[in-house]
């Protein structure tokens, strides 16, 4: 059976599964729509959180990114896992005890201010749209590459599926679909990794194969070989990086703190029954995420050695293009691999200096991996289904936050407090539908800056939500003015820095011009510190939070009587 047919079958089966779940888990009330009725098992919630978290970008691009960055790629590995420790220890249990539906809910109630609520709503919507545009694009890319429909058609099919299960099922439908999507994803990620690890090192577990000796009898370990190859070809040694230490530090911190402040991740902890479940759930989420995140660097190094050897040959002198492996030619058609025979010898050569004749896109590393390692057709189909699952699960989670922010935070709590539960549910569905339409539009006509604005999403979350929530829980006298001033200062600084270096004057974006050598990706860390500092100063100058708010903060600190997620 051809790749094409197999992919249709595998992706088709997964779609049928998602739709079946959506019909089974239809939401009947706002509480089911927003937080799945607060009755999700913590392990299932952990799995759903992991699926929510693993976006198309991380599924498709992360291993490739690390493969090209070597040690510097650790910022993503540490940043996108370490944030869950902050979530579990400092945020999730308390926000669960607080027992409302959304992050703006918490900020608005804790800081007894509509301004604070509005700032939070705007940030939440902005962060989510930034993200979701990239996801829809991911769906389109996977569809067009494996199913050979064009990107527009791919995006429309993806929109249709997400529309069906998020508008119908709300959080309940999304959560159970995400559990299924995680299973598809992890299988699709691990199967090729295990195969390749066995071929290259003889180890079944990729995490062990990563540090092991190569199976080719050279007596060299994989990483020694990789370091050797890298230096020989004019790259930096794989296990040491090119970024400065302070930049690595700040990017890691911004990603960690940003993760802990992302509304679509936080809201997942409102769906479990109890405070103790919220703690446990964060643990399980990280287990499921860690499975993928510890495999990714292994894949990265296997793929790098494999790629260099296939292109440059055993002797590192280049291989004849006419005899090139079929995957090179397949991917050349997509433009993701390019060969330019500069010295006219008919041989391909890949290096980090002027001898280089190849252009290799990092996204290939995961997508072409099964082909490079000559794995069976069903594995390739599985990887396609995994990529689609990753994109769909993340977009659904984000769309839910958008729809909740509009129907609940903006309409119910702000503009139209008199609407009934039924009406609110209708508006939530309407907002989800509109959200999907806008996301789809952005997926088909992507603004050129999608990649750049991702730094934005994390930077903003790190410099706004995170400090406001932490102070809200651990500093019970913190005042509304302090928190709002802090948020505005943090966002203002971070946004200005990123906009300047990413949009206004990208040419100036070099380590010499950066503040303390910190890149725009890492500046959220400084934004966060500014937020904390400003909040404290303003708080000291004015009155402290009123007694009933302090009482409320006291209350969320103790788990007894978490109660259910409350309607108002």
């Amino acid at each position: 059976m051809g790749i094409q047919t197999m992919t249709f079958i595998v992706v088709g089966i997964t779609f049928a599964l998602y739709i079946g779940i959506a019909i089974w888990a239809k939401a009947g009330s706002t509480k089911e729509f927003y937080v799945a009725g607060g009755g999700i098992n913590p392990v299932a919630n952990g799995m759903a959180t992991a699926a929510d978290w693993m976006s198309a970008a991380s599924f498709i691009s992360m291993a490739g990114l690390i493969s090209f960055m070597g040690y510097d790629g650790s910022v993503y590995l540490l940043g996108w896992t370490g944030g869950y420790v902050l979530l579990a220890l400092c945020l999730a249990p308390y926000l669960r005890k607080f027992g409302k539906f959304t992050v703006p809910d918490f900020i608005g109630d804790r800081y007894y201010s509509q301004t604070a609520r509005t700032v939070a709503v705007v940030c939440a919507i902005f962060v989510c749209f930034t993200y979701v545009a990239g996801q829809m694009r991911g769906v389109g890319v996977v569809f067009s590459r494996f199913l050979e429909v064009d990107i527009t058609m791919g995006v429309i099919i993806g929109m249709g599926i997400v529309f069906f299960y998020s508008v119908l099922g709300g959080m309940k439908g999304i959560t159970y679909t995400q559990v299924a999507q995680y299973c598809v994803m992890i299988f699709a990620y691990l199967v090729p990794a295990v195969f390749i690890s066995i071929i290259m090192t003889g180890h079944v577990i990729p995490q062990f194969g990563f540090g092991a000796d190569l199976a080719d009898g050279s007596g060299q370990s994989l990483l020694q070989k990789l370091d050797g190859l890298s230096t020989e070809l004019g790259f930096t040694e794989y296990t040491s990086g090119t970024k400065s230490m302070i930049d690595v530090f700040c990017i890691t911190a911004a990603l960690m703190v940003g993760t802990a402040g992302l509304p679509h991740v936080i809201v997942r902890f409102f769906t479990v029954p109890k405070v103790r479940d919220a703690r446990k759930s964060a643990g399980w989420a990280l287990v499921f995420i860690a499975l993928i995140y510890t495999t990714a660097p292994a894949i990265a190094s296997f793929a790098r050695v494999n790629m260099i050897e296939t292109i440059n040959g055993e002797e590192q002198t280049g291989t004849q293009y006419s005899e090139a492996a079929s995957w090179i030619k397949n991917w050349e058609k997509t433009g993701l691999i390019q060969w330019d025979d500069k010295n006219g010898d008919g041989k391909m050569f890949y290096s980090g200096d002027e001898r280089n004749e190849m252009k290799v896109d990092r996204d290939i590393m995961v997508l072409a991996n099964p082909e490079i390692a000559d794995l069976p057709v069903w594995v390739i189909a599985l990887v396609a289904a995994g990529g689609v699952a990753a994109a769909l699960s993340t977009s659904a989670g984000l769309l839910l936050v958008i729809s909740t922010s509009v129907s609940h935070d903006l309409l119910k709590r702000n503009l139209m407090p008199q609407i009934t539960d039924k009406q609110e549910l209708f508006y939530a569905r309407l907002a989800a539908a509109v959200g999907i339409a806008i996301a789809g539009y952005l997926g088909i006509n992507p603004p050129g800056f999608v990649a750049q604005v991702v730094a934005f999403a994390f930077g903003l979350a790190a410099s706004s939500f995170f400090p406001a929530i932490i102070l809200g829980i651990f500093h019970k006298r913190m005042s509304s003015r302090g928190a709002v001033a802090g948020m505005l200062a943090g966002i203002g600084f971070t946004a200005t820095y990123i906009i300047y270096f990413k949009f206004i004057n990208p040419a100036a974006s070099t380590p010499d011009n950066w503040f303390l050598g910190i890149s725009p990706e890492g500046i959220g860390t400084i934004g966060m510190m500014i937020n904390f500092t400003v909040a404290f100063v303003v708080y000291k100058l004015g009155a402290e939070a009123p007694d009933e708010v302090q009482q409320m903060v006291e209350d969320i600190r103790y788990p007894k009587g978490a109660g259910e997620a409350q309607a108002h």
């Binding site: 690390i66 040690y71 790629g73 650790s74 590995l77 540490l78 896992t81 370490g82 869950y84 420790v85 902050l86 579990a88 220890l89 400092c90 249990p93 995490q207 062990f208 990563f210 540090g211 092991a212 000796d213 370990s221 994989l222 990483l223 296990t239 040491s240 230490m245 690595v248 530090f249 890691t252 911190a253 960690m256 109890k274 405070v275 103790r276 703690r279 446990k280 964060a282 643990g283 990280l286 287990v287 860690a290 995140y293 510890t294 660097p297 600190r557 103790y558 788990p559 007894k560 009587g561 978490a562």
Partner: protein, 88 residues
């Protein structure tokens, strides 16, 4: 049953904070410490085919993160029981 007295309440919160800060110190140590600040020193030490600093940055820290959360879960459940604020 909730707390028997205000002192109990304060004591519970203190213990909670102390546990949190201890675990966060480990969190910082394995990631920012071993994986970033001390990476060059630790890279001199071989570890199952890895350089130790590199291993922490790409593998070890993540395993420790998972362990930290579960230690927190177990310790907090004990604390909840001890102070009679457990949800069961």
């Amino acid at each position: 049953m909730a707390f028997q007295s205000e002192e109990q309440k304060t004591a519970y919160w203190r213990r909670n904070i102390r546990l949190m800060l201890t675990l966060l110190a480990v969190w910082f140590g394995v990631s920012f410490g071993c994986g970033i600040l001390l990476v060059d020193v630790l890279n001199q030490i071989p570890f199952f085919g890895f350089k130790l600093g590199f291993w922490f940055a790409q593998q070890g820290a993540i395993y420790v993160f998972v362990a930290l959360i579960f230690v927190y879960v177990v310790k907090m459940n004990q604390l909840d029981k001890e102070f009679n604020v457990s949800e069961e």
